[in-house]
C-alpha cells in the first residue's frame, strides 16, 4: 500500500487499465474494485464548452489527495486505492480524474469510491475554468 504512484497530479492522460492493474497487483485478496472516471463535457449550465482548464495549488492538492487515500483505506478497510487527477487544458471527452477502490467485497469498494470523489471535491485545492463562446468562466461548484 506504499505505491508512490498511487496518488498523482499530472498533465498527461492516464490509462484506466494500467491503474486497475496496479491496484490489483497490490493484493490477491481483492474481490471488488470500484472505479470513478470523471471526463470533460461539451455543455455546461446551458452553454457550449470548448475547453476546460485546471489549476491546482499543487503541493497542497497532492498532500490532500494522499491523505484522502489513507483516510479511505482506513474508513472502508480497503486493500488499496488510487487517485489520479489531470492538471491540464482538456476538451470534450477527455479524461480528468480517476479513482479506484479495491476491497475484499463490493460494498466497501463502491462506498469508498463514491466517498473519495465527493471528498476530493471538498478537500483538494483544484479549480476549473470553462471556455465558452460567451467567454471564460471559473466553475461554481455544485453540491
Amino acid at each position: 500500500m506504499s505505491d508512490l504512484t498511487a496518488v498523482r497530479l499530472q498533465t498527461e492522460d492516464f490509462s484506466q487499465d494500467a491503474e486497475i492493474a496496479a491496484l490489483k497487483a497490490s493484493s490477491k485478496r481483492m474481490g471488488g474494485i470500484a472505479t470513478f472516471l470523471g471526463c470533460a463535457r461539451d455543455f455546461s449550465e446551458g452553454r457550449e464548452v470548448s475547453t476546460i482548464g485546471f489549476e491546482a495549488y499543487g503541493a497542497m492538492a497532492l498532500s490532500e489527495m494522499q491523505q484522502l487515500r489513507l483516510d479511505a483505506i482506513a474508513k472502508f478497510e480497503l486493500l488499496d486505492a488510487r487517485i489520479v487527477h489531470r492538471i491540464a487544458t482538456v476538451t470534450a471527452g477527455d479524461n480528468i480524474v480517476f479513482i479506484a477502490a479495491g476491497a475484499e467485497h463490493r460494498v466497501a469498494a463502491l462506498a469508498a469510491c463514491h466517498w473519495m470523489i465527493d471528498e476530493l471535491k471538498l478537500r483538494v485545492p483544484i479549480w476549473k475554468k470553462e471556455s465558452t463562446p460567451q467567454g471564460d468562466a471559473w466553475v461554481v461548484p455544485h453540491p
Binding site: 491546482a56 495549488y57 461548484p141
Partner: protein, 79 residues
C-alpha cells in the same frame, strides 16, 4: 515576510498569483486577511477557505510565524 498565494478565480481578481506581507510579531491570520480584503474586495468576496503552509486553517486568530505561506482560496471545483 509572509508569502501570500492566490489561485484560480481569486488570482484572476487580485491580478497576480502571489504577493508578500511584512512580518511583525503577533501577526494573526485574520490581520492579513483583513488588510488584503480591503485592498482586493472583489477577490476576497470569493474566499471561503484558507491554508497556512499547505494545511487548511479555520482559526483566524492563528499567529503566523515569519516566512509562513498563506493561501486564500475560493471553493474548489476539481474532479
Amino acid at each position: 515576510m509572509i508569502q501570500v498565494l492566490f489561485f484560480g478565480p481569486v488570482a484572476d481578481r487580485v491580478g497576480q498569483s502571489a504577493l508578500s506581507v511584512d512580518y511583525q510579531p503577533e501577526l494573526r491570520l485574520q490581520d492579513v486577511r483583513d488588510t488584503l480584503a480591503v485592498r482586493y474586495p472583489q477577490a476576497f468576496a470569493l474566499v471561503c477557505m484558507t491554508a497556512v503552509n499547505g494545511q487548511h486553517v479555520r482559526d483566524g486568530a492563528m499567529l503566523l510565524p515569519d516566512h509562513s505561506e498563506v493561501t486564500f482560496m475560493a471553493k474548489f471545483s476539481g474532479g
